[in-house]
């Protein structure tokens, strides 16, 4: 035996040694090892420190139930992962692991004083103290608690790895590729349906991997499954949750088992699987036993020692003792002996153990003590001896050892069953909860279904002891340092529900989520409360089954793919011309086009003046567009919008206002009547989807008698606004088939024709107050037409402008922006838009609500203009307005500034504001208290420029 590596056996490749480091020290393992087995083979017993008391800890289990051996694994710069379970980390060449939660070193951890002081830190201690002096909680106590808590360190850099995702469908999904799962998969495969078999471990086999007698069968079944083209086997894949209707989510680890240089492609992959039938074959997890010192390194589950020896060829010790309350401990002991591991003693609490087991053990030279229990384990950084006594007595005897194996019975892994709201029933013989009923098409087979003969398992939390509970030091939740007596304390303090006990003690709340502690905690609570476990219930299993990286769980949506960024057909041109963008809803829009060193204010000033004096062009493509078609199109819009539509002649457009049924403004936009039965309706950029959904809702569910259909046309049309006194001159040469003259094509008209040889819907509308056109062309021609207009506009120094100038220009005209000058609580009357309401219409969406008492009450906020006394001062948008600036805080606010700009046309600042009873306050001076002083402003009408609209009609 070299180190603790057995000379024969195991599924490791003895010809392939791998070097790795742990806490900087070099070690060697073998291909096929896990980090845990390789360290065990090198004689390492101390793997980590516990969460709260920093107690030295070794390996407890060799699977994903492991609570103790958490490590940080470094795979090169920026590839650090904390809190990995050593038994679940496949060894590869160059692996660098680090212990956690210790200072300065694992062996000499100064923070382990917590353990010495543990009497002062029982469950819930923080609720009882740190309250005085009051300020000290945040300045002193909390920072200290926080520093001591936490396990490993968080990564601190952007992750260079990427992650994949997929959906998958199958007729049968089998979770767990132990003997039961493999058998289920073989059976399902024979029916010809699609089968997916997943297992979290490095290779399929489950418990059979630690039982060489099953290897031949295992290999044969796997070969058959691999050969079947309707079966997909996913190893290193953990089913993390069972969601509604057999939607099972799993994560496959693709590269972490490889040396970094061999790792190609995605690190992990998310599987979102919809299965016709789910077969759960998750197996069962062995239960530790609770006695003093049960957490000392070297005390572990019998199944872990078995796995170490038979799967990895590693002895966990040279003189091993087994403490069993279950037959499987005997079988493991015998298997260990056969594999060359010396088991000196078996201690079993039961008096009657099957004669064949006892005889076999004695025959193998193992001392047997029946009716006895381990009363303590001793040792500091590793176990050196134990004491045991006949159950519940003080008649202790000591035995030296370097490993103690606990065979406490088995807990079926019913996690996914429970996620899906499957019910459980207590099985007295198993001493565990077993699956009972479910409304999913789902079954549990093998260990997790309670299939084997585990009938000899004793249901118990702690081993019998002569000491009272509050003096005992046995651990229940190893990672969170929950002792049996903490559970006793919780009950003593009145926490009787198992949910309270969990939260008060934190039992089951660690990264292993109670895989080894829940049932013991439950048994202890049951004992303390003198109530049967069935009355106590179980805490809730929740996804994920084991912790999973955020990177895998976020699917496709990482970095550049987080969310689509929508760009218009003209966006590239804007980028090439130096546009500065802003995000609006899902789109990005050019905000302004700086020239040279211009800042935003300078650029906007120039852009605005160009529109007022000559001509500007603006990409309005993001506006929502809906084609409303059918004989009842006008009737439909009439019922929906506040305005009247039936009278609108083809070829004309109208500004429409849309309310929510509650009467508040939801959206607006211009709609053009293209034909008697066809409207081109526009919406705000952000409102497009919302409005279309609302329209469909009313159309389909309230007015399904109407013959009208809605088609989203937002992306069909690129829209170029050409605005300014020279607008007509610019496009005149490009347009064909449309008479652009003032008479033939008045303001608020729409025409179809061609521009630059492509079809256009040309609107004569203006959001700037100047003569203007909105050129709609099929999006694929947007860029070409934009450039043509830009070229045709050169004689007039045509100026591309962005959203910011658009906002200023419209504010000068007192046009509102939905969502800026209104906020979801504003009625048309509030916004000064009563004119947009068809007074003769009997109904439209929202009309009834407008008659509600509060919507007609005095004192509502109304949209007005505000002019600061100092015209150079631009108010801040969102600033609050008061009538009396001298009141103490809290002040009575009567409104707020919704829009504020330096108006290039007026050469002074302007603002729009919502002010209580604003229209009755014309000429009144109001106050805007700012941190730097109070600003005075006078209430005016909201239209600052060309109130008569003469420029529109140029």
């Amino acid at each position: 035996m070299s180190g603790y590596r057995l000379s024969v056996g195991g599924r490791i490749n003895r010809a392939a040694p791998l070097s790795f480091t742990f806490d900087g020290k070099a070690y060697q393992g073998l291909e096929g090892d896990s980090l845990a087995s390789a360290l065990l083979a090198s004689g390492v017993m101390l793997f980590g420190r516990s969460f709260k008391y920093h107690r030295p800890r070794g390996i407890l289990g060799m699977g994903s139930e492991e609570p103790n051996a958490l490590m940080t694994v470094e795979r090169g710069p920026a590839r650090m992962t904390p809190n990995l379970r050593a038994p679940s980390v496949a060894l590869h060449a160059g692996l660098a692991a680090k212990s956690q939660n210790r200072f300065p070193t694992l062996r000499r951890d100064l923070t382990a004083v917590n353990d010495t002081l543990s009497a002062f830190f029982p469950a819930g201690f923080y609720n009882k103290t740190f309250m005085w002096p009051r300020a000290a909680w945040e300045s002193v106590y909390e920072p200290i608690i926080r520093r001591l808590a936490g396990l490993g360190d968080s990564p601190t850099t952007r992750d260079p790895d990427h992650y994949g995702a997929t959906y998958a469908h199958c007729d049968v999904l089998v979770v767990g590729a132990g003997p039961a799962g493999i058998a289920a998969a073989v059976e399902a495969a024979a029916t010809g349906g699609r089968v997916i078999l997943i297992d979290e471990q490095e290779e399929p086999g489950g418990g059979a991997l630690a039982d060489p007698a099953q290897w031949a069968d295992l290999a044969a079944s796997l070969a058959a499954l691999n050969a079947a083209d309707n079966v997909q086997i996913l190893s290193r894949t953990t089913a993390i949750g069972h969601y509604h209707q057999n939607f099972v989510v799993a994560v496959e680890r693709l590269t972490d088992h490889l040396a970094p240089t061999d790792a190609k492609g995605a690190r992990e992959k998310l599987w979102r699987i919809r299965a016709g039938r789910v077969v759960l074959a998750q197996g069962a997890i062995e239960r530790p036993l609770v006695f003093d010192g049960n957490d000392i390194p070297g005390v572990m589950l019998a199944s872990a020692a078995r796995t170490a020896a038979l799967r990895y060829g590693v002895a966990v010790g040279r003189s091993v003792i087994v403490m069993a309350v279950h037959d499987s401990g005997w079988r493991d002991a015998l298997a260990l002996m056969a594999a060359g591991v010396t088991v000196s003693t078996i201690i079993d609490l039961r008096q009657d153990v099957a004669a064949e087991l006892v005889d076999a053990a004695r025959g193998a030279g193992i001392a047997v003590h029946l009716g006895c229990a381990v009363t303590s384990a001793r040792g500091r950084l590793g176990i050196s001896s134990i004491t045991y006594a006949p159950g519940g007595t003080v008649d202790e005897r000591a035995i030296a050892c370097d490993a103690l194996l606990m065979a406490g019975g088995w807990t079926p892994t019913v996690h996914l069953w429970s996620h899906a709201k499957g019910t459980l029933r207590w099985d007295g013989a198993w001493g565990a909860y077993l699956p009972d009923t479910t409304h999913e098409v789902m079954t549990c087979v093998g260990g997790c279904g309670g299939a084997w003969d585990y009938g000899s398992g004793l249901a118990l939390g702690t081993l019998p002891s002569a000491k009272p509970l509050h003096k005992r030091k046995g651990f229940v939740d190893f990672q969170n340092d929950v002792k049996a007596r903490d559970i006793g304390l919780a009950v003593q303090e009145g926490f009787r529900s198992i949910e309270h006990i969990k939260r008060y003690t934190t039992n089951g709340m660690a990264t292993d989520q109670g895989k080894t502690s829940n049932l013991n905690g439950l048994q202890i609570a049951s004992d303390v409360l003198s109530r049967p476990v069935t009355e106590i219930g179980l805490t809730t299993f929740r996804p994920p089954y084991t912790p999973q990286t955020f990177g895998a769980l976020l699917g496709h949506h990482k970095e550049a793919l987080f969310q689509p960024l929508r760009k218009t057909a003209i966006d590239d041109w804007a980028r090439d011309h130096g546009a500065v963008y802003e995000n609006v809803a899902q789109w990005r829009r050019a905000r302004y086009f700086p020239r040279g060193a211009e800042d935003m204010d300078a650029a906007v000033l120039r852009e605005c003046l160009a529109v007022r004096d000559s001509v500007g062009m603006f990409d309005a493509s993001t506006l929502g567009k809906i084609e409303v078609v059918g004989p009842d199109a006008a009737e439909f819009l009439n019922r929906l919008y506040t305005n009247p539509w039936k009278s609108l002649a083809p070829g004309r457009c109208r500004y429409g206002l849309l309310l929510r049924e509650e009467g508040f403004i939801m959206d607006d936009g211009v709609a053009g009547r293209m034909a008697p039965d066809r409207f081109h309706v526009t919406t705000t950029t952000g409102g497009a989807a919302r409005v279309l959904n609302m329209m469909e809702d009313y159309l389909q569910t309230e007015w399904s008698d109407l013959d009208v259909w809605l088609t989203s046309a937002t992306e069909q049309w690129a829209v170029i606004a050409v605005q300014g006194p020279k607008a007509r001159d610019v496009i005149a040469g490009l347009v064909s088939g449309i008479d652009l003259s003032r008479e033939a094509f008045p303001h608020m008209a729409v025409r179809e024709g061609h521009i630059c040889g492509v079809p256009t819907r040309l609107f004569r509308v203006s959001f700037t107050g100047e003569l203007g056109f909105e050129v709609n062309v099929p999006a694929q021609h947007g860029r070409m037409v934009w450039e043509a207009i830009h070229a045709a506009g050169q004689p007039y120094d045509i100026t591309p402008y962005g959203t910011e100038a658009m906002h200023v220009l419209r504010a000068e005209k007192g046009f509102i922006i939905i969502g800026q000058d209104t906020d979801g609580t504003i009625t048309p009357e509030d916004a000064g838009m009563a004119w947009a309401i068809g007074q003769k219409k009997p109904d439209f969406v929202g009309k009834r609500s407008l008659a509600r008492p509060d919507l007609v009450a005095q004192g509502r906020k109304q949209l007005v203009g505000l002019l600061t006394e100092d015209g150079t001062h631009v108010l801040e948008e969102g600033a609050q307005i008061v009538a009396d600036p001298d009141q103490p805080v809290p002040m009575t606010m009567i409104g707020h500034v919704t829009s504020a700009y330096l108006s290039p046309a007026l050469g002074r600042s302007i603002a729009l504001a919502l002010v209580a009873d604003g229209r009755a306050r014309m000429g009144e001076t109001l106050y805007v208290p700012m941190p730097g002083g109070v600003i005075r402003a006078v209430v005016t009408g909201p239209v600052f420029y060309d109130a008569e609209g003469s420029r529109l009609d140029a």
Binding site: T156, T157, R158, H162, G164, A165, T166, Y167, A168, H169, R272, R274, G555, H556, H557, E559, A560, L561, F562, Q563, P564, L565, R566, K567, T568, A569, Y581, Q586, W587, R588, E627, V629, G630, P631, A675, P676, D677, R678, D707, V708, W709, T711, S712, A713, T714, E715, Q716, W717, A718, P778, A779, Q780, H781
Partner: protein
């Protein structure tokens, strides 16, 4: 303070490439131009009469370049330049949406796998000729199986770069 390097590629950088993407077992390319129409009617016969062609009767079925997307909705993908009568006055809606979407062609033995990476439907079970509206993650698409190992995907223009790169990442 933690320094966090900016992303190498950002959402704003995503663009449609000029060339097809050829990966192991699958190829992704932009489809040719089409004339696209949204066809709507309560009564398919009226549309059929207007257009002079048969329409697929069942949701999910396709016929001669037309897919039935809903009980009163068809999507027509016709040769570029095709014009259709608008049926003014009839209880129908014929709307030209040629420019609204772009088409992708996903082809090869891994085509199903690629689409299934973000589309929650059981695409493998689509018969040839099946077309339906669905999603790829959060983006609405139309998936149309045009051959055993070839699919046509329709996606609105501004979502196309995202979709392209999402597919490319999965390829």
């Amino acid at each position: 303070m933690l320094e966090i390097a900016p992303m190498k590629l950002s959402a704003a950088d995503l663009a449609l490439p000029a060339e097809a993407l050829v990966a192991d077992g699958v190829q992704l390319a932009l489809a040719d131009d089409y004339a696209r129409f949204s066809l709507r009617a309560r009564d398919a016969a009226i549309l059929e009469g207007l257009l002079g062609r048969k329409l697929p009767a069942k949701i999910g079925e396709t016929l001669d370049g037309v897919a039935c997307l809903g009980p009163d909705e068809w999507l027509a993908l016709l040769p570029a330049g095709t014009a259709l009568p608008l049926g003014e006055g009839l209880p129908v809606s014929v709307t030209d949406i040629s420019s609204r979407a772009l088409g992708f062609v996903v082809e090869g033995p891994r085509a199903v796998e690629l689409i299934t990476s973000g589309c929650p439907l059981d695409v493998a079970k689509f018969p040839i000729g099946r077309g339906t509206r669905t999603v790829f993650e959060t983006v609405e698409i139309v998936v149309w199986r045009t051959a055993e190992a070839r699919f046509h995907i329709e996606v609105w223009r501004s979502f196309a770069p995202w979709l392209w790169h999402a597919l490319a990442a999965a390829a």
